[in-house]
Amino acid sequence: MEIRLSSVLLAAALLSGCGWFHRGDKKPAQVTVEEPQAEPSIIEPQVSRREVKTPKIKAKNFEVGAYFGALSIEDFGTNPIYGVRAAYHVTEDFFLEGFLARSKAGLSSLEDVFPGITVVSNSGRQFTYYDLDVGYNVLPGEVFLGRGRAFNTALYVTVGMGDVKFADQDQFALNFGVGTRVLVTDWLAMHLDVRDHVFESSLFGVDKNVHNIEATLGLTTYF
C-alpha cells in the first residue's frame, strides 16, 4: 500500500515537472487546414425571390359633375342655367372647387314695358361665368330614408371669385354660396346649391352691385 502511494506521488511529481519544463516553450505553430472544395451540387436551386410590393392605395379625392337650375339675373328675370363643376377635397373639411356655367337672360322690366327699347343685344344676353371657390363642410352628417337606409351628407359654405360675361362684357364677380351634398353611393353625390354672384354693373346708367342668385341641382362623381 505504501509503495503504491509513493508511485502515485512520483507520477504526480513527474507530470508536474513535465509541465514545468514546457513552461517557456513557444506555442505550436497554428496549422491551417484547407477546406476541401465543395462538391458541385447536382441540383442548382432555381428559387427566384418574389419581391413583395404592397399595392398603392388609390386616392379618390376629385369630384366632377354637372348641374342645372335657375338663375335670377338682376333686372332680367329668372332663367335656366346649366354648368359643370370640379372639386378637389384637400381635407375632410376643406375643398377647392371650380365652376363653369351658362344661362341666357330674358327681357328686362324696362324692355317689357317699352317693347321698342333694347338694353342688351341678343348675343349679349348670354350670361357665362367661371368661379374658383374654396369650400368648408360646416355640418357633416347623415340623412335617413326609412329604417334601413342612411346617406352621408354635408352642409357646406363656399366663397370664391371669377368672371361673369354678360352684355358682352367681362366683369369680376364674387360669389357666396351654401349647399348640401348627399352621397347617394360612395362614388355618386347629389348637390343642392344656392349661390349669389355679385358684380358691378352700369347697364342702366348707374354703377351698382347686382346680385344674381342661382339655385341648382347637381350630380357629381368621385374619382
Binding site: V52, T54, A59, T91, L132, M161, D170, Q171, F172, D186
Partner: protein
C-alpha cells in the same frame, strides 16, 4: 360605428378619400375607417400597414393653386402651377385675367422662384424673376396702341403650410411692359392665393 372586425381578420383596403379609407371585411361588409385606426393594423407579413405618409411640405414637387389680387388697379384672378427643381428653386407658370373698367387683360407668365428657407413651414420668403405676355381687350374706346406686349417681372413673396396638402402663397410683382413707345410701361401686382401641393 356600424361594424367591428375581429382580431386577426383580414381587411381589404379599396381606396381612400381625404383621411378615410374604404375597406372590405372578410364577409364582404364594406365601410369607412379612419386613417389613424388603419395605421394600427398590420400586413400579413407582420409589418405595419403601409399607409402613405402625408406629403412633406419642404420637399414637395408640384403645386396647383388659385389666387386673388390686384394688377394695374384691376381685379386679378390667377391660376398657377409650380414645379420644384430643388427644394428651394421652382419653375412657375401663371395664367391670369385682370378685369378692369377700361380693359380686360389676359396675362401668361413663366419664371423661376427661389424660396429662401424652405424648412420654415409656416412662413418662408421667396423671390423670383420671369417673363410673359399680356393681351389687352379694351372695353372703352379708344383702343390701345398695342393689344399685346411682352413683359418681364421681378417678384417678392412668401409661402406657408396650412394643413395636409394645403398651403398659402402671397406675391408682389413689378412688371416692365415692353412697348413701342420711348418709355416702357411699369405695372405692379399683388396677389394672395391658396394651393395644394403633391
Amino acid at each position: 360605428m356600424v361594424y367591428v372586425v375581429g382580431r386577426d381578420e383580414v381587411l381589404t383596403v379599396l381606396y381612400s378619400r381625404t383621411d378615410w379609407y374604404k375597406v372590405r371585411a372578410p364577409l364582404g361588409t364594406e365601410g369607412w375607417v379612419r386613417r389613424a385606426d388603419l395605421a394600427r393594423t398590420k400586413l400579413n407579413s407582420g409589418e405595419p400597414a403601409p399607409i402613405p405618409p402625408y406629403p412633406d411640405f419642404t420637399t414637395h414637387r408640384w403645386e396647383l393653386g388659385a389666387s386673388y389680387g390686384v394688377y394695374n388697379r384691376q381685379n386679378l384672378v390667377s391660376v398657377y402651377t409650380d414645379y420644384a427643381i430643388t427644394d428651394s428653386i421652382d419653375i412657375e407658370g401663371v395664367l391670369q385675367q385682370a378685369l378692369g373698367t377700361l380693359d380686360n387683360r389676359y396675362i401668361a407668365t413663366i419664371g423661376i422662384r427661389h424660396t429662401f428657407v424652405p424648412e420654415w413651414r409656416w412662413f418662408s420668403p421667396t423671390a423670383g424673376i420671369g417673363t410673359g405676355y399680356q393681351y389687352i381687350q379694351d372695353k372703352v374706346p379708344p383702343a390701345p396702341l398695342q393689344d399685346s406686349n411682352q413683359m418681364a417681372y421681378a417678384s417678392l413673396g412668401a409661402r406657408g403650410f396650412i394643413t395636409r396638402r394645403f398651403m398659402w402663397r402671397a406675391d408682389w410683382r413689378h412688371y416692365v411692359v415692353f412697348n413701342r413707345l420711348n418709355v416702357n410701361e411699369e405695372l405692379e401686382e399683388w396677389k394672395f392665393g391658396l394651393a395644394v401641393f403633391f
